[in-house]
Symmetry: C2
Subunit: 218 residues, 2 copies
């Protein structure tokens, strides 16, 4: 059900455009997918569309948010105040979408105290305090590869149960911890694979409309 977030975003956009009702066909088009798939996904929510009409946007948004647990904010803590950590903290897109940055921590005393994206960097020893005070469940690892495992262990130790990992390593954590990994270099390598194929297989380029956008999630 990794597609629910995508539906949610599109439906939210439609809601702002004051679209009240949407068909599976239209929704599929907007997210570059297939109508049948959309209907299957939504029916899995025990959803309520009206035959011959479509789905009520507002109600769907509500249902999906509920299913995704987005009825309240989920504060996150970012470990690592390097370039990536700074960017994530300053990104803004997190807070808007229900994931306010409760804190940024780093192990390097030289980085502590600087302010980025409105958040002051604190020492990693304050991690436990931040997590407890703000009831943080989600940690983001934006450290260098070599520090990622230790960061994960510290997060787990203070009670974080979900981790978004930007370091290119497989973390070793208890099974109860949910880990998702984003490896930017892997994404580029997949693109390079396709570039290389274009170069070697030569010819038969297809040119067409939109639709079909590979993305994350498994």
């Amino acid at each position: 059900m990794a597609r629910l977030p995508v539906y949610l975003r599109i439906l939210s956009e439609q809601a702002e455009l004051e679209v009240e009702c949407i068909s599976s066909d239209r929704l599929a088009e907007l997210c570059g997918a297939n109508a049948a798939k959309v209907r299957k996904d939504l029916s899995y929510l025990g959803s309520y569309g009206t035959r011959g009409v479509g789905y009520e946007v507002a109600y769907l948004v509500y249902q999906i948010r509920r299913e995704l647990g987005l009825t309240h904010d989920w504060p996150v803590v970012i470990v690592g105040a390097g370039h990536l950590g700074q960017a994530l903290a300053g990104y803004g897109g997190f807070g808007e979408r229900g994931f306010p940055v409760a804190g940024v921590v780093d192990i390097d005393p030289a980085k502590v105290g600087s302010v980025l994206g409105g958040v002051r960097v604190r020492h990693i020893d304050e991690l436990a305090q931040i997590v407890q005070a703000r009831r943080v469940n989600i940690g983001v690892i934006a450290t260098p590869t070599s520090a990622a495992q230790e960061a994960a262990e510290r997060l787990v130790a203070v009670g974080v149960t979900s981790i978004l990992n930007f370091a290119p390593v497989v973390l070793s954590v208890p099974r109860s911890i949910e880990v998702r990994k984003v490896d930017l270099a892997v994404e580029l390598q997949i693109l390079s694979y396709h570039e290389q194929r274009k170069a070697t297989t030569g010819g038969l380029r297809s040119v067409g409309g939109a639709a079909g956008q590979r993305s994350a999630s498994a």
Copy 2:
């Protein structure tokens, strides 16, 4: 075959540790997967392991790099010099892994000229020149959502054929263009989904070893 990059990273690490030979079992363990899957994947490369022994690390690295088109660098151009663009440009992990940043462009004249991560920000009108001069095939979109479609069109217009998109929109581009999307909020929403399930289904927490790390790619 989105797992090849992962194998590559692990094999490269092993090579640095001067491991000359590795079994599918060990490799599977290191990337949190299953031995049979690893063998299937590698056999698809027309691979050469030795029965009873394992795979020669150096040779595998060579083969995978070849398959992924990593025999030479792929310079990339970043569109958007906001927080995310800055972070990506300064990240360093790109260049090291064969994707040097050929340029960063922005539409805002105020941002042009500033230097980040050793790269000077240039105006988007210089995009064509950068792409031609450095033979760039891959573009990275790090603009706000509202500007992403235009960025994509400009990239396509100047000859870029692969796009890594960080903006949460489905881009409309010719089918010949390979697009991959990374949506950070989606990743967090998937984590929140699991958090919410932990909260509601209550109980039966399993605690165990490592293994099993959801990641990107489809």
